[in-house]
Protein backbone atom coordinates (compact mmCIF):
# COMPACT_ATOMS: atom_id res chain seq x y z
CA UNK A 1 0.00 0.00 0.00
CA UNK A 2 1.25 3.45 -0.78
CA UNK A 3 1.86 5.98 1.94
CA UNK A 4 -0.39 9.08 1.99
CA UNK A 5 0.50 11.56 4.77
CA UNK A 6 -2.58 13.24 6.21
CA UNK A 7 -1.02 16.72 6.54
CA UNK A 8 -0.58 17.23 2.76
CA UNK A 9 -2.89 18.22 -0.07
CA UNK A 10 -2.99 16.25 -3.30
CA UNK A 11 -3.65 16.80 -7.00
CA UNK A 12 -5.43 14.20 -9.12
CA UNK A 13 -2.29 14.13 -11.25
CA UNK A 14 -0.32 12.78 -8.23
CA UNK A 15 1.54 15.86 -6.99
CA UNK A 16 1.46 16.86 -3.32
CA UNK A 17 1.86 20.24 -1.60
CA UNK A 18 2.93 21.03 1.93
CA UNK A 19 1.81 24.54 2.89
CA UNK A 20 3.73 26.72 5.34
CA UNK A 21 2.34 30.27 5.49
CA UNK A 22 2.30 31.74 1.97
CA UNK A 23 4.85 29.18 0.67
CA UNK A 24 4.39 25.57 -0.35
CA UNK A 25 6.68 22.64 -1.10
CA UNK A 26 5.75 20.46 -4.08
CA UNK A 27 6.62 16.86 -4.91
CA UNK A 28 5.10 13.70 -6.35
CA UNK A 29 3.32 11.04 -4.32
CA UNK A 30 4.49 7.63 -3.22
CA UNK A 31 1.90 6.13 -5.56
CA UNK A 32 3.34 8.16 -8.47
CA UNK A 33 6.94 7.12 -7.79
CA UNK A 34 5.81 3.52 -7.52
CA UNK A 35 4.05 3.73 -10.88
CA UNK A 36 7.05 5.40 -12.52
CA UNK A 37 9.55 2.98 -10.93
CA UNK A 38 13.24 3.94 -11.01
CA UNK A 39 13.49 7.71 -11.45
CA UNK A 40 16.69 8.39 -13.43
CA UNK A 41 16.37 12.09 -14.19
CA UNK A 42 14.37 15.07 -12.90
CA UNK A 43 14.16 18.34 -14.80
CA UNK A 44 13.06 21.17 -12.52
CA UNK A 45 11.77 24.67 -13.34
CA UNK A 46 14.01 27.75 -13.15
CA UNK A 47 13.97 29.60 -9.86
CA UNK A 48 11.86 32.81 -10.21
CA UNK A 49 9.66 31.22 -12.88
CA UNK A 50 5.98 32.06 -12.48
CA UNK A 51 3.69 29.07 -12.94
CA UNK A 52 -0.05 28.59 -13.03
CA UNK A 53 -1.84 25.68 -11.40
CA UNK A 54 -2.06 22.85 -13.93
CA UNK A 55 0.95 24.05 -15.93
CA UNK A 56 3.61 21.50 -16.87
CA UNK A 57 6.73 22.71 -15.09
CA UNK A 58 8.94 19.68 -14.43
CA UNK A 59 9.77 16.40 -16.13
CA UNK A 60 10.46 13.16 -14.33
CA UNK A 61 12.11 10.39 -16.33
CA UNK A 62 12.18 6.70 -15.58
CA UNK A 63 14.16 4.24 -17.68
CA UNK A 64 11.20 3.81 -19.99
CA UNK A 65 9.41 7.15 -20.15
CA UNK A 66 9.46 10.90 -19.60
CA UNK A 67 6.44 12.25 -17.70
CA UNK A 68 5.37 15.86 -17.25
CA UNK A 69 4.75 17.09 -13.74
CA UNK A 70 2.05 19.75 -13.38
CA UNK A 71 2.28 22.44 -10.78
CA UNK A 72 -0.67 21.87 -8.44
CA UNK A 73 -0.64 25.52 -7.38
CA UNK A 74 0.06 28.96 -8.88
CA UNK A 75 2.91 31.23 -7.84
CA UNK A 76 6.61 31.89 -8.22
CA UNK A 77 9.29 29.22 -7.86
CA UNK A 78 11.62 30.26 -5.02
CA UNK A 79 13.81 27.18 -4.61
CA UNK A 80 14.45 23.87 -6.36
CA UNK A 81 15.77 20.63 -4.87
CA UNK A 82 19.34 20.62 -6.19
CA UNK A 83 19.97 17.19 -4.63
CA UNK A 84 17.79 15.57 -7.30
CA UNK A 85 20.35 16.43 -9.94
CA UNK A 86 22.88 13.94 -8.61
CA UNK A 87 20.45 11.66 -6.85
CA UNK A 88 17.12 11.43 -8.70
CA UNK A 89 16.43 8.17 -6.83
CA UNK A 90 15.44 10.28 -3.79
CA UNK A 91 12.07 10.59 -5.50
CA UNK A 92 11.69 6.83 -5.10
CA UNK A 93 13.16 6.45 -1.64
CA UNK A 94 11.66 9.50 0.06
CA UNK A 95 8.93 11.04 -2.13
CA UNK A 96 7.42 13.16 0.67
CA UNK A 97 10.75 14.18 2.19
CA UNK A 98 14.16 14.47 0.52
CA UNK A 99 12.57 13.77 -2.86
CA UNK A 100 10.70 17.13 -2.97
CA UNK A 101 10.79 19.04 -6.28
CA UNK A 102 10.47 22.78 -5.59
CA UNK A 103 9.23 25.48 -3.22
CA UNK A 104 6.80 28.05 -4.47
CA UNK A 105 5.47 31.36 -3.18
CA UNK A 106 1.71 30.99 -3.49
CA UNK A 107 -0.18 33.62 -5.45
CA UNK A 108 -3.52 32.28 -4.24
CA UNK A 109 -3.61 30.89 -0.72
CA UNK A 110 -7.02 29.31 -1.40
CA UNK A 111 -5.69 26.96 -4.10
CA UNK A 112 -4.24 24.30 -1.78
CA UNK A 113 -7.54 24.27 0.14
CA UNK A 114 -9.34 23.25 -3.05
CA UNK A 115 -7.01 20.27 -3.57
CA UNK A 116 -7.73 16.72 -2.39
CA UNK A 117 -7.26 15.77 1.24
CA UNK A 118 -5.40 12.53 1.99
CA UNK A 119 -8.55 10.44 2.29
CA UNK A 120 -9.99 11.59 -1.04
CA UNK A 121 -6.65 11.06 -2.78
CA UNK A 122 -6.38 7.60 -1.23
CA UNK A 123 -9.77 6.70 -2.69
CA UNK A 124 -8.68 7.89 -6.12
CA UNK A 125 -5.50 5.81 -6.00
CA UNK A 126 -7.38 2.71 -4.90
CA UNK A 127 -10.15 3.10 -7.44
Amino acid sequence: MSNIPSDLRYAKSHEWVRVAGDHATVGITDHAQHELTDVVFVELPQVHRIVKAGEACAVVESVKTASDIYSPVSGQIVEINAALSNNPGLVNTDPFGDGWFYKIKLSDAAEPEAMLAAEAYGKQVQG
Binding site: T37, D38, V40, F41, E43, V59, E61, S62, V63, K64, A66, S85
Partner: protein, 370 residues
Protein backbone atom coordinates in the same frame (compact mmCIF):
# COMPACT_ATOMS: atom_id res chain seq x y z
CA UNK B 1 -8.26 -6.77 -28.18
CA UNK B 2 -4.64 -7.37 -27.24
CA UNK B 3 -3.24 -10.84 -27.69
CA UNK B 4 -2.05 -12.72 -24.64
CA UNK B 5 0.68 -15.34 -24.40
CA UNK B 6 0.21 -18.71 -22.64
CA UNK B 7 2.14 -17.17 -19.73
CA UNK B 8 -0.30 -14.32 -19.14
CA UNK B 9 -1.67 -15.78 -15.92
CA UNK B 10 1.84 -16.51 -14.65
CA UNK B 11 2.67 -12.83 -15.14
CA UNK B 12 -0.46 -11.75 -13.29
CA UNK B 13 0.43 -13.98 -10.36
CA UNK B 14 3.88 -12.36 -10.29
CA UNK B 15 2.20 -8.92 -10.19
CA UNK B 16 3.85 -7.88 -13.44
CA UNK B 17 3.23 -4.44 -14.89
CA UNK B 18 1.61 -5.25 -18.22
CA UNK B 19 1.80 -3.03 -21.29
CA UNK B 20 0.93 -3.18 -24.97
CA UNK B 21 3.80 -4.28 -27.18
CA UNK B 22 3.21 -4.87 -30.90
CA UNK B 23 -0.39 -5.89 -30.32
CA UNK B 24 0.44 -8.08 -27.32
CA UNK B 25 -0.19 -7.57 -23.62
CA UNK B 26 3.28 -8.19 -22.23
CA UNK B 27 5.11 -7.68 -18.91
CA UNK B 28 7.31 -4.57 -18.99
CA UNK B 29 8.67 -5.39 -15.54
CA UNK B 30 7.92 -7.37 -12.38
CA UNK B 31 9.99 -5.36 -9.88
CA UNK B 32 11.77 -2.62 -11.84
CA UNK B 33 13.69 -2.39 -15.10
CA UNK B 34 16.91 -1.41 -13.30
CA UNK B 35 16.67 -4.36 -10.92
CA UNK B 36 15.83 -6.91 -13.64
CA UNK B 37 18.61 -5.55 -15.85
CA UNK B 38 21.09 -6.02 -13.01
CA UNK B 39 19.83 -9.56 -12.34
CA UNK B 40 20.42 -10.57 -15.97
CA UNK B 41 23.93 -9.06 -15.97
CA UNK B 42 24.91 -10.71 -12.67
CA UNK B 43 22.77 -13.90 -12.30
CA UNK B 44 19.96 -14.86 -14.67
CA UNK B 45 16.58 -13.66 -15.90
CA UNK B 46 13.71 -15.50 -17.57
CA UNK B 47 11.71 -13.76 -20.31
CA UNK B 48 8.40 -14.62 -21.92
CA UNK B 49 9.04 -14.44 -25.68
CA UNK B 50 5.97 -16.44 -26.70
CA UNK B 51 4.85 -13.46 -28.76
CA UNK B 52 7.68 -14.07 -31.22
CA UNK B 53 6.87 -15.93 -34.41
CA UNK B 54 8.05 -19.36 -35.54
CA UNK B 55 8.02 -20.46 -39.17
CA UNK B 56 9.30 -23.78 -40.42
CA UNK B 57 10.77 -24.12 -43.88
CA UNK B 58 11.03 -27.73 -45.01
CA UNK B 59 11.58 -29.78 -48.13
CA UNK B 60 14.26 -30.61 -50.66
CA UNK B 61 14.46 -26.97 -51.81
CA UNK B 62 14.57 -25.43 -48.31
CA UNK B 63 18.31 -24.58 -48.23
CA UNK B 64 18.43 -22.99 -51.64
CA UNK B 65 15.15 -21.13 -51.00
CA UNK B 66 16.39 -19.64 -47.74
CA UNK B 67 19.65 -18.62 -49.34
CA UNK B 68 17.69 -16.54 -51.81
CA UNK B 69 15.32 -14.86 -49.36
CA UNK B 70 17.86 -14.28 -46.55
CA UNK B 71 21.15 -12.35 -46.59
CA UNK B 72 23.42 -14.66 -44.55
CA UNK B 73 24.85 -17.85 -46.07
CA UNK B 74 22.77 -20.83 -44.99
CA UNK B 75 25.37 -23.22 -46.44
CA UNK B 76 27.57 -22.41 -43.44
CA UNK B 77 25.09 -24.16 -41.13
CA UNK B 78 25.37 -27.79 -40.12
CA UNK B 79 22.43 -29.60 -38.58
CA UNK B 80 22.11 -28.32 -35.00
CA UNK B 81 23.41 -24.83 -35.75
CA UNK B 82 21.76 -21.47 -36.22
CA UNK B 83 22.64 -18.00 -37.48
CA UNK B 84 21.39 -14.44 -37.37
CA UNK B 85 20.12 -13.29 -40.74
CA UNK B 86 18.06 -10.62 -42.47
CA UNK B 87 15.17 -10.95 -44.86
CA UNK B 88 15.28 -8.16 -47.44
CA UNK B 89 13.02 -6.94 -50.20
CA UNK B 90 14.50 -6.55 -53.71
CA UNK B 91 15.44 -2.93 -52.85
CA UNK B 92 17.58 -4.15 -49.96
CA UNK B 93 15.15 -2.88 -47.31
CA UNK B 94 14.77 -5.10 -44.26
CA UNK B 95 11.49 -7.00 -44.00
CA UNK B 96 12.66 -8.63 -40.76
CA UNK B 97 15.70 -9.73 -38.83
CA UNK B 98 15.59 -13.28 -37.54
CA UNK B 99 17.35 -16.40 -36.35
CA UNK B 100 17.39 -19.45 -38.61
CA UNK B 101 18.14 -22.90 -37.17
CA UNK B 102 18.97 -26.00 -39.17
CA UNK B 103 17.04 -28.76 -37.41
CA UNK B 104 17.52 -31.37 -40.13
CA UNK B 105 19.02 -31.69 -43.61
CA UNK B 106 15.79 -30.37 -45.12
CA UNK B 107 14.26 -28.71 -42.08
CA UNK B 108 14.74 -25.15 -40.83
CA UNK B 109 13.11 -23.10 -38.08
CA UNK B 110 12.90 -19.30 -38.32
CA UNK B 111 12.36 -17.22 -35.17
CA UNK B 112 10.86 -13.92 -36.29
CA UNK B 113 9.69 -10.71 -34.64
CA UNK B 114 6.18 -10.67 -33.16
CA UNK B 115 5.41 -7.37 -34.87
CA UNK B 116 6.47 -8.80 -38.27
CA UNK B 117 4.60 -12.13 -38.38
CA UNK B 118 1.87 -10.55 -40.50
CA UNK B 119 4.47 -9.18 -42.93
CA UNK B 120 6.88 -12.14 -43.01
CA UNK B 121 4.50 -15.05 -43.49
CA UNK B 122 2.71 -13.65 -46.59
CA UNK B 123 6.11 -12.62 -47.99
CA UNK B 124 7.59 -16.10 -47.50
CA UNK B 125 4.49 -17.75 -48.96
CA UNK B 126 4.62 -15.45 -51.96
CA UNK B 127 8.33 -16.06 -52.50
CA UNK B 128 7.72 -19.81 -52.25
CA UNK B 129 5.32 -19.49 -55.21
CA UNK B 130 8.22 -18.37 -57.42
CA UNK B 131 10.60 -20.84 -59.08
CA UNK B 132 12.97 -20.53 -56.11
CA UNK B 133 10.26 -22.14 -53.98
CA UNK B 134 10.18 -25.47 -55.77
CA UNK B 135 10.02 -28.29 -53.23
CA UNK B 136 9.56 -25.90 -50.28
CA UNK B 137 6.90 -25.94 -47.61
CA UNK B 138 6.40 -22.79 -45.50
CA UNK B 139 4.47 -23.39 -42.26
CA UNK B 140 3.57 -20.64 -39.81
CA UNK B 141 3.71 -22.20 -36.34
CA UNK B 142 3.45 -18.96 -34.38
CA UNK B 143 0.06 -19.84 -32.91
CA UNK B 144 0.99 -23.32 -31.69
CA UNK B 145 4.56 -22.72 -30.52
CA UNK B 146 5.77 -20.62 -27.62
CA UNK B 147 9.22 -19.58 -26.45
CA UNK B 148 11.08 -18.59 -23.30
CA UNK B 149 14.49 -16.93 -23.05
CA UNK B 150 16.76 -17.59 -20.06
CA UNK B 151 19.71 -15.21 -19.99
CA UNK B 152 22.59 -14.47 -17.68
CA UNK B 153 25.95 -15.74 -16.45
CA UNK B 154 24.55 -18.46 -14.14
CA UNK B 155 22.25 -20.07 -16.74
CA UNK B 156 24.79 -22.75 -17.67
CA UNK B 157 24.50 -24.17 -14.16
CA UNK B 158 20.80 -25.06 -14.38
CA UNK B 159 19.76 -25.12 -18.05
CA UNK B 160 20.14 -28.93 -18.28
CA UNK B 161 17.56 -29.34 -15.48
CA UNK B 162 14.96 -27.20 -17.26
CA UNK B 163 13.91 -30.12 -19.49
CA UNK B 164 13.41 -33.86 -18.81
CA UNK B 165 15.75 -35.25 -21.48
CA UNK B 166 17.92 -33.93 -24.29
CA UNK B 167 19.91 -35.15 -27.29
CA UNK B 168 22.95 -33.08 -26.26
CA UNK B 169 23.38 -31.40 -22.90
CA UNK B 170 22.31 -27.78 -23.52
CA UNK B 171 25.15 -26.64 -21.23
CA UNK B 172 27.65 -28.23 -23.63
CA UNK B 173 26.37 -26.33 -26.68
CA UNK B 174 28.47 -23.65 -28.32
CA UNK B 175 26.96 -20.26 -29.15
CA UNK B 176 24.26 -20.55 -31.85
CA UNK B 177 23.97 -24.32 -31.51
CA UNK B 178 20.58 -25.94 -30.91
CA UNK B 179 19.52 -29.27 -29.49
CA UNK B 180 16.26 -31.12 -29.08
CA UNK B 181 14.97 -32.01 -25.64
CA UNK B 182 11.74 -33.22 -24.12
CA UNK B 183 9.55 -31.73 -21.43
CA UNK B 184 6.31 -33.35 -20.22
CA UNK B 185 6.50 -35.70 -23.20
CA UNK B 186 6.67 -32.83 -25.69
CA UNK B 187 9.62 -31.74 -27.83
CA UNK B 188 11.50 -28.59 -26.79
CA UNK B 189 14.32 -27.02 -28.77
CA UNK B 190 17.06 -25.31 -26.77
CA UNK B 191 19.33 -22.86 -28.59
CA UNK B 192 22.32 -21.12 -27.06
CA UNK B 193 21.55 -17.58 -28.08
CA UNK B 194 19.81 -14.48 -26.85
CA UNK B 195 19.21 -10.78 -27.05
CA UNK B 196 20.96 -9.46 -23.96
CA UNK B 197 24.71 -9.77 -24.54
CA UNK B 198 24.88 -12.45 -21.85
CA UNK B 199 25.24 -16.20 -22.14
CA UNK B 200 21.79 -17.68 -22.50
CA UNK B 201 19.29 -19.97 -24.12
CA UNK B 202 16.02 -19.70 -25.98
CA UNK B 203 13.59 -22.59 -25.50
CA UNK B 204 10.95 -23.25 -28.14
CA UNK B 205 8.10 -25.72 -27.68
CA UNK B 206 4.35 -26.23 -27.77
CA UNK B 207 2.36 -23.30 -26.36
CA UNK B 208 0.56 -25.80 -24.11
CA UNK B 209 3.71 -26.62 -22.07
CA UNK B 210 4.97 -23.05 -21.64
CA UNK B 211 3.50 -22.43 -18.16
CA UNK B 212 4.96 -25.65 -16.74
CA UNK B 213 8.29 -25.07 -18.47
CA UNK B 214 8.43 -21.53 -17.02
CA UNK B 215 7.67 -22.87 -13.51
CA UNK B 216 10.29 -25.61 -13.84
CA UNK B 217 12.96 -23.12 -14.90
CA UNK B 218 12.11 -20.77 -12.02
CA UNK B 219 12.32 -23.72 -9.63
CA UNK B 220 15.68 -25.10 -10.77
CA UNK B 221 17.11 -21.62 -11.33
CA UNK B 222 16.09 -20.26 -7.93
CA UNK B 223 19.36 -21.08 -6.16
CA UNK B 224 21.27 -19.56 -9.09
CA UNK B 225 19.49 -16.22 -8.74
CA UNK B 226 17.03 -16.68 -11.63
CA UNK B 227 14.20 -14.14 -11.62
CA UNK B 228 11.53 -13.14 -14.11
CA UNK B 229 12.50 -10.19 -16.30
CA UNK B 230 10.27 -8.06 -18.52
CA UNK B 231 10.49 -6.38 -21.88
CA UNK B 232 11.80 -3.18 -20.28
CA UNK B 233 15.03 -4.87 -19.20
CA UNK B 234 15.16 -6.78 -22.48
CA UNK B 235 15.24 -3.41 -24.24
CA UNK B 236 17.92 -1.80 -22.05
CA UNK B 237 20.04 -4.98 -22.21
CA UNK B 238 19.91 -5.18 -26.00
CA UNK B 239 20.53 -1.44 -26.39
CA UNK B 240 23.71 -1.65 -24.30
CA UNK B 241 25.09 -4.30 -26.67
CA UNK B 242 23.64 -2.57 -29.78
CA UNK B 243 21.40 -5.36 -31.01
CA UNK B 244 18.86 -3.91 -33.44
CA UNK B 245 15.13 -3.86 -32.72
CA UNK B 246 12.84 -3.98 -35.73
CA UNK B 247 10.92 -0.71 -36.08
CA UNK B 248 13.82 1.18 -34.48
CA UNK B 249 17.16 0.36 -36.15
CA UNK B 250 15.49 -1.62 -38.93
CA UNK B 251 12.61 -1.08 -41.32
CA UNK B 252 11.70 -1.71 -44.95
CA UNK B 253 13.52 1.45 -46.07
CA UNK B 254 16.79 0.75 -44.26
CA UNK B 255 19.32 -1.75 -45.58
CA UNK B 256 21.45 -4.06 -43.42
CA UNK B 257 24.53 -2.13 -44.58
CA UNK B 258 23.10 1.18 -43.32
CA UNK B 259 22.17 -0.58 -40.09
CA UNK B 260 25.79 -1.69 -39.64
CA UNK B 261 24.93 -5.38 -40.15
CA UNK B 262 27.07 -6.00 -43.24
CA UNK B 263 28.67 -8.95 -41.43
CA UNK B 264 25.41 -10.86 -41.91
CA UNK B 265 25.21 -10.14 -45.65
CA UNK B 266 27.05 -12.78 -47.68
CA UNK B 267 27.70 -11.48 -51.19
CA UNK B 268 29.58 -14.54 -52.44
CA UNK B 269 26.80 -17.10 -52.00
CA UNK B 270 24.90 -16.45 -55.25
CA UNK B 271 21.78 -14.42 -55.94
CA UNK B 272 19.43 -13.28 -53.15
CA UNK B 273 16.84 -10.56 -52.64
CA UNK B 274 18.47 -7.15 -52.43
CA UNK B 275 21.93 -8.38 -53.45
CA UNK B 276 22.58 -5.71 -56.14
CA UNK B 277 21.95 -2.76 -53.83
CA UNK B 278 23.70 -4.34 -50.84
CA UNK B 279 26.76 -5.18 -52.98
CA UNK B 280 26.92 -1.61 -54.20
CA UNK B 281 26.56 -0.21 -50.66
CA UNK B 282 29.23 -2.57 -49.35
CA UNK B 283 31.60 -1.32 -52.04
CA UNK B 284 30.76 2.38 -52.14
CA UNK B 285 29.35 2.89 -48.67
CA UNK B 286 25.79 3.87 -47.76
CA UNK B 287 24.77 7.51 -47.33
CA UNK B 288 23.72 6.95 -43.74
CA UNK B 289 24.82 4.70 -40.96
CA UNK B 290 23.36 3.51 -37.68
CA UNK B 291 25.87 4.43 -34.98
CA UNK B 292 26.07 3.96 -31.24
CA UNK B 293 26.53 7.00 -28.99
CA UNK B 294 27.09 7.93 -25.37
CA UNK B 295 26.12 11.17 -23.67
CA UNK B 296 29.21 12.99 -22.44
CA UNK B 297 27.52 15.58 -20.25
CA UNK B 298 24.77 15.31 -17.69
CA UNK B 299 21.49 15.09 -19.57
CA UNK B 300 18.08 13.52 -19.56
CA UNK B 301 18.11 10.05 -21.15
CA UNK B 302 18.10 10.13 -24.96
CA UNK B 303 14.99 8.61 -26.53
CA UNK B 304 13.77 7.52 -29.98
CA UNK B 305 13.05 10.36 -32.44
CA UNK B 306 15.21 12.94 -30.68
CA UNK B 307 17.11 14.98 -33.26
CA UNK B 308 20.86 14.58 -33.74
CA UNK B 309 23.05 17.63 -34.48
CA UNK B 310 26.56 17.85 -35.89
CA UNK B 311 28.52 21.02 -36.48
CA UNK B 312 25.44 23.18 -35.87
CA UNK B 313 23.26 21.26 -38.33
CA UNK B 314 20.49 18.71 -37.72
CA UNK B 315 21.84 15.52 -39.30
CA UNK B 316 19.79 12.60 -38.05
CA UNK B 317 17.53 10.97 -35.53
CA UNK B 318 17.88 8.75 -32.47
CA UNK B 319 16.29 5.33 -33.08
CA UNK B 320 16.92 3.75 -29.65
CA UNK B 321 17.86 5.55 -26.47
CA UNK B 322 17.80 4.95 -22.75
CA UNK B 323 19.69 5.39 -19.57
CA UNK B 324 22.19 2.53 -19.50
CA UNK B 325 21.66 0.75 -16.16
CA UNK B 326 25.14 -0.80 -16.40
CA UNK B 327 26.99 2.44 -17.18
CA UNK B 328 24.58 4.88 -15.50
CA UNK B 329 24.66 7.29 -18.44
CA UNK B 330 22.54 8.04 -21.48
CA UNK B 331 23.21 5.82 -24.49
CA UNK B 332 21.56 5.08 -27.78
CA UNK B 333 21.74 4.44 -31.47
CA UNK B 334 21.07 6.94 -34.24
CA UNK B 335 21.15 7.23 -38.01
CA UNK B 336 23.67 9.86 -39.13
CA UNK B 337 25.48 10.65 -42.40
CA UNK B 338 28.41 8.30 -42.98
CA UNK B 339 30.78 11.27 -42.71
CA UNK B 340 29.78 11.65 -39.05
CA UNK B 341 29.79 7.93 -38.26
CA UNK B 342 33.39 7.44 -37.04
CA UNK B 343 33.81 6.67 -33.36
CA UNK B 344 34.93 9.85 -31.60
CA UNK B 345 32.68 12.14 -33.66
CA UNK B 346 31.16 14.79 -31.40
CA UNK B 347 27.41 15.04 -31.91
CA UNK B 348 24.60 16.65 -29.96
CA UNK B 349 21.24 15.21 -29.00
CA UNK B 350 18.33 17.63 -28.85
CA UNK B 351 16.17 16.99 -25.81
CA UNK B 352 13.14 19.23 -25.26
CA UNK B 353 14.69 22.05 -27.25
CA UNK B 354 18.11 21.92 -25.63
CA UNK B 355 21.20 20.27 -27.14
CA UNK B 356 23.41 17.96 -25.08
CA UNK B 357 26.90 16.75 -26.04
CA UNK B 358 27.36 13.13 -27.07
CA UNK B 359 30.02 11.08 -28.76
CA UNK B 360 29.83 8.36 -31.41
CA UNK B 361 31.31 5.18 -29.92
CA UNK B 362 32.21 1.72 -31.16
CA UNK B 363 29.57 -0.99 -30.88
CA UNK B 364 28.82 -2.56 -28.47
CA UNK B 365 28.44 0.31 -26.00
CA UNK B 366 28.70 -2.08 -23.05
CA UNK B 367 31.13 -4.95 -22.96
CA UNK B 368 31.39 -7.43 -20.13
CA UNK B 369 34.54 -7.12 -18.08
CA UNK B 370 36.35 -10.42 -18.59
Amino acid sequence: MLKRTPLFEAHQKLAARLVEFGGWEMPVHYTSIMEEHRVVRTAAGIFDICHMGEVSITGAGASSFLNQVLTNDIAKLRVGEGQYSLMCNPAGGVIDDLYVYKLGVQEYLLIINASRIDADVPWLLQEAQRDIGAGVLVTNQSETLGAIAIQGPTVEKFIDQCVDTFDRAPSSLLKNQITRGEFAGQPVYLARTGYTGEDGFELVGAASIMTDLWQRALQVGLVHGLKPAGLGARDTLRTEVCYPLYGHELDEKRTPIEAGLGFFVSLDKGPFNGREILAMQKLQGAPQRCVAFKMIEKSPPPRPHYRVWFDGQPVGEVVSGTLSPSLNLGIGMAYVPTTVAQPGSRIEIEIRGQRFAAEVVKKPIYRKAS
